[in-house]
């Protein structure tokens, strides 16, 4: 079982190494939480991201709360979340106090153009890893393609995708749905 300090430190590390939104955090979480600490599996991370899509709040916080709870109960969930937000808090407070035109600096803009390229490669790698756990047959492949295609082609909120996939999961388990669902 992980100690509180270990939870706080690990999530502070994740917070400091994440550039961008929740998805950019996924490759870092896979390395720190799945590989280094063994606190969750790739499949569980996919679950947490799915739940985070349709519950209130920042996805990164939702994921930290889930893993913290799993390791140390309610207080673990709170400690992991505080760890995650601590670096943001320090960095932004310093920046907001010092320079307001930080993102106008040419060197910062160029660095982030490079980082964006890296983040999209890292997300691609992360998806390849999740794929093994998530796409196990024709039905899950169809769900993957439908979600990816619709999300890329429309501006529908991700919440609807998650709710629809969840409803499908219930329907397939209803009496009579078993046979159709067997090809999983």
């Amino acid at each position: 079982m992980a100690g509180y300090w270990e939870l706080f430190r690990t999530f502070a590390k994740v917070g400091v190494m994440t550039f961008g939104g929740g998805y950019a955090m996924l490759p870092i979480l896979q390395r720190e939480v799945v590989e280094n600490k063994g606190w969750a599996t790739d499949g569980e991370l996919a679950d947490y991201f799915a739940v985070g899509q349709c519950t209130p709040g920042v996805i990164a916080v939702n994921t930290a709360t889930f893993i913290g709870y799993k390791e140390r109960g309610v207080s673990g969930g709170i400690v992991a979340t505080l760890g995650l937000v601590a670096p943001s808090f320090v960095i932004i407070s310093v920046l907001a106090g010092l320079i307001t035109n930080f993102s106008d600096l040419e060197v910062v803009r160029k660095a982030f153009a490079g980082i964006r390229v890296c983040v999209c490669v890292l997300i691609f790698n992360a998806v390849c890893r999740l794929w093994k756990d998530a796409v196990t047959g024709k039905r899950s492949l169809a769900i993957f393609l439908a979600a990816a295609g619709l999300a890329a082609g429309t501006s529908l909120s991700p919440t609807w995708f998650v709710l629809a996939a969840g409803a499908l999961g219930v329907l397939l388990e209803l009496p009579g749905g078993r046979e159709r669902g067997k090809s999983k």
Binding site: G15, T18, F19, G22, Y23, A24, L26, P27, R31, A46, F49, A50, G52, Q53, C54, G57, V58, I59, N62, T65, F66, G77, T81, V85, S88, F89, I91, I92, S93, A96, S103, V108, F112, A113, G114, R116, V117, C118, C120, V121, L122, V127, L130, W131, A134, V135, I143, F144, L145, A148, S157, P158, T159, A165, L168, G169, V170, L172, G181, K184
Partner: protein, 184 residues
């Protein structure tokens, strides 16, 4: 009094902004108009800074707005306000999942959620790729970015010696490559 108000405004944002990342933006825009703590122009600066510093964007935004409105204590209170609803909702779901993880409906729902969640992440990777690999000025393909992406793909997926390196190494190298080779 401003601290109570800050906590309440960000608590509401955390409760109603579903989906993470820039989902908080419309709420903050509304907050600027209602409270006068910051202008729409400042909000645009905050988005740029939040996207170009480590940490989840939603948290960075809350810290920045809180700092602008009430200094360091304001930053702390706004951030805590934003994460409180997430922590509460996720803890309830985590307790539920722990007790019902072997329920066949719950298993079936997650069987459908994993591929959907993976598809959503793939789609967001695509949109990051579009912003990273296409040139903003000409609308054409940014050759240097494509070369960087290809090199990163080789190093993170093909070469056994470098495959296991920590993602932050690649983020650091990409920032350096951006500064050295990209045009602003």
């Amino acid at each position: 009094m401003i601290f109570l108000r800050l906590f309440w405004e960000f608590f509401k944002t955390g409760l109603f902004a579903v989906g993470g990342g820039l989902a908080t933006l419309p709420f903050l825009s509304r907050m600027a108009a209602d409270t006068g703590w910051f202008t729409q122009g400042q909000l645009a600066d905050m988005v740029a800074v939040s996207e170009s510093t480590p940490g989840p964007i939603g948290i960075n935004m809350a810290t920045y707005v809180g700092y602008t409105a009430g200094g360091i204590p304001g930053a702390l209170i706004a951030t805590l306000g934003l994460v409180t609803p997430s922590i509460a909702v996720i803890l309830v779901i985590a307790v539920f999942l722990k007790n019902f993880q072997d329920n066949r409906y719950v298993r079936s729902v997650f069987g459908c959620l994993r591929p959907a969640s993976t598809g959503l992440i793939a789609a967001s990777g695509l949109s990051v790729a579009a912003s990273a690999l296409l040139s903003t000025q000409t609308g054409g393909v940014n050759g240097k970015a494509v070369v960087l992406a290809a090199v990163l793909l080789l190093l993170t997926r093909v070469f056994p010696r470098t495959k296991k390196w920590h993602p932050i190494v690649w983020i650091g190298c990409s920032a350096a490559a951006g500064i050295l080779f990209f045009s602003a």
